[in-house]
């Protein structure tokens, strides 16, 4: 009965939608009709033998039937399944160490966007794996490394034109990574890196000190320092904080940092509303109640083959399903890895192997990361009016035997391997 209703409404929108869709010969703004055996919208509605229409760079129609378009039209793309373009909330297509300023451990106002190469080959690799939007973080060599940028993996030649959201999150790290390379000075400092923090404990101290200093600066402008206004923005909840924390003790530290800000007198007067998600939270499964209590979503790093992953943390394939059961919102990620087994679509497959239902796996690589990045109004689901970012699959998405056969970004067919794909 339910599917019948969908079929009816869809048919109505189809007839009006197709007529009004622009027909343009310019490849950049070409309109497309995608015929798919399965249309996974990501909104809970899925259609068998449905279609998605694209025009002017936006999704113009999503329907449960194919309509009467001329079957031979070169505007029609056929595939087994279509989903929204995948979204990765933890990517590192950067210039390595040149993308994070290490002259100070706390750099809240530096933009990683200023260091990116729009011509890097990795954009194309992400695109071919079905990823159309990413959050690029500065390398985690600082405690607070700067401002991440949300952008498309394909499109214009400049980073600015591909940007979905500038200053999408304030990025930093707990754990062992920020202190690596620093060393204590016995007597005379030997170099630039004779400085704090040199330990995990130093890292958490640097985080807390930064926010206490920023709160003081908010009340007394003579105490302002470079980037303190960004930290104040984060304290007010106007700028989401993304903290890398792999191991359970580092996840706890991040949770306690948020709770400390929410409760201490220094952060009264509106400075007690931080929004935060934890990236690379491999051991989120160990103390899920903390994350529920503090209302902190997480991004999971790639599933390791043998359980043990970075920062000596442990993560099995059922972690995603465990987090779902606990009610913790989560996204999956490649964590910037270029290894084929760490591709985002593969992560969804591993999570499903670990028990996660398909719909949740789809959300964890589309709508959920889009929400964390603050771009859910633009990308993450197949809905009329959203950006026309689509992935065409030759089989059931995330299955090991399925592959991406075409990717559309902002209405433009940017990757097309339909003729190379193995027929199923």
């Amino acid at each position: 009965m339910k599917s019948l209703i969908f079929g009816l409404t869809a048919a109505v929108s189809l007839s009006s939608g197709v007529a009004s869709m622009p027909r343009d010969d310019k490849p950049e703004s070409k309109s497309w009709i995608i015929w798919a055996d399965r249309v996974y919208t990501g909104t809970g509605m899925n259609f068998d033998a449905g279609m998605v229409g694209v025009g002017g760079g936006k999704i113009a129609i999503v329907a449960a039937s194919r309509g009467s378009d001329d079957e031979s039209s070169d505007r029609i793309l056929r595939c087994y399944a279509v989903t929204a373009g995948l979204v990765d909330a933890s990517v590192r297509i950067t210039n390595g160490a040149s993308s994070v300023e290490q002259s100070n451990e706390i750099q809240p106002n530096l933009r990683v966007a200023n260091t990116l190469d729009p011509f890097a080959i990795e954009w194309d690799r992400q695109l071919r794996n079905g990823v159309t939007s990413v959050l690029v973080n500065p390398p985690d060599l600082n405690v607070i490394g700067g401002l991440s940028v949300a952008l498309k993996t394909a499109g214009a030649d400049t980073i600015a034109e591909r940007t979905l959201k500038n200053d999408a999150v304030l990025r930093g790290s707990m754990g062992s990574e920020p202190s690596r390379g620093n060393h204590p000075a016995f007597g005379r400092p030997t170099d630039f890196f004779s400085r704090r923090p040199t330990t995990r404990m130093g890292v958490e101290w640097a985080w807390r000190k930064a926010f206490y200093d920023a709160a003081a600066a908010a009340n007394d402008s003579t105490r302002a320092f470079p980037g303190s206004e960004r930290l104040v923005q984060a304290l007010k909840g106007d700028l989401t904080i993304s903290i890398q924390a792999w191991a359970t003790q580092d996840i706890r530290t991040a949770v306690f940092l948020k709770e400390e800000i929410e409760s201490q007198a220094e952060f009264k007067n509106g400075l007690n509303k931080p929004r935060m998600f934890i990236d690379a939270a491999a051991e989120a499964w160990k103390e899920p109640q903390l994350l529920v209590r503090a209302k902190i979503p997480v991004v999971l790093p790639p599933f390791p083959a043998a359980g043990r992953t970075r920062d000596n943390s442990f993560m099995a394939w059922n972690v995603a399903e465990e987090l779902r059961k606990e009610g913790i919102p989560f996204a999956l990620s490649s964590h910037g890895s270029a290894a084929p087994e760490n591709a985002l679509a593969m992560q969804a497959g591993y999570a499903m192997q670990g028990g996660l239902p398909f719909e949740n796996a789809l959300a964890a690589v589309t709508s959920m990361p889009a929400r964390l990045m603050g771009v859910a109004d633009r990308v993450g689901t197949l809905e009329v009016g959203k950006d026309a970012d689509l992935v065409l699959w030759n089989g059931q998405p995330f299955e090991p035997s399925s592959r991406v056969i075409a990717v559309i970004v902002d209405g433009v067919l940017r990757y097309d391997a339909r003729d190379k794909a193995v027929a199923k």
Binding site: S98, E101, S103, L110, R111, V112, D117, P118, T158
Partner: protein
Amino acid sequence: MITALLALTAPLVFAAPPTKSGPESPAKSVAIRADVVWLGDGRVLEKGVVLFSEGRIAEIGTNVSVPAGVETIEHKGFLTAGLIALHGYTGGQAGEMRDDARPAMPNAKIGLVFDASSPDVADARAVGITSLLLTPNAEGVAPGLTAVVKTSSRRLLKDEAHLSLVFNAGGLVSNREPTSLSGAVAMLDQLFAKPTGAVERAHGGSLPCLFEVGEPADVLRAIDFAKRHDLRGVIHGAVLAGEVADQIKASKLSVIVPAIGVGERRRNLKSVVALAKKEIPFGFGLDSPVNNPADLRLGAVMCVREGVDAKVAWNALTSEAARIAGVADRVGTIDRGMDADVVLWSGDPLDLGSRVIAVYVDGARVDGDKR
């Protein structure tokens, strides 16, 4: 007390022997009649005569009346303006053309460390290069001011040609600020937030900038910065600049093509073709003594072979280079009142079979075959 000291030291300074203005004979009036004269503005004179007087070009034409007592040299070949190399440290010690303790020293002048007696300068002169744009090494964020010099004397043609600004990762050092591209941009933004000295002149538009880049991504970052602070000038260092030619064209910046060598990749040469196709003004860098000075003309010829119009390539070696260096009112073309910087060639200078017969700077013969 200080005045007394100054008074004491001053005579010592002035007592130093005066520097020789050129390595060879001083400029005297001379007329040269050549089979072909390229004036550099598109005009070509057959059997043209160029008359030098007091280091300047006094007269040009096919029917010049040469004053009595002035020698007329008959040249069987081509006469052109001297070549201008746009980027390099010929005549300076490479390690001395920067200060790696400070990332920003925008008022430092490279012109002051030029050594005209260096054999590198003689090598440049010998292949027909008469002017050089000296550039501080691209390290830090603002390593200093570029300068234009002649290859025959210590006289500076321009001691403040561009403010050098660095946008490539090569300018970063891992043990002092900035260590990152984002830090470099932030530091430059800060310099321009409260501009003083050379930065203020660049900000006001009276001083062009030299944007040191590497990858096409650096080019875009530099263009972005130029737009943000309303700067004009020239981009150097991207062999693939032509692959972002649309953006460069829109930015109104010009380009210094990095030195081209034997066996240059075709992709790099096609990038120059792309610049030419978009009519983006460009000249050639040299970076001698790392590169052979002869590579300057060779590079232009290789671009012609790849499809760049010969006239465009020639201008890139002379008049366009002079415009980019901000000295087009003095050098780069042959016209009345211009500096008498002239090269005599055995044939068409864009034919690699042709060679330099004589080089004149400020009207004086500074290199060439024995006469």
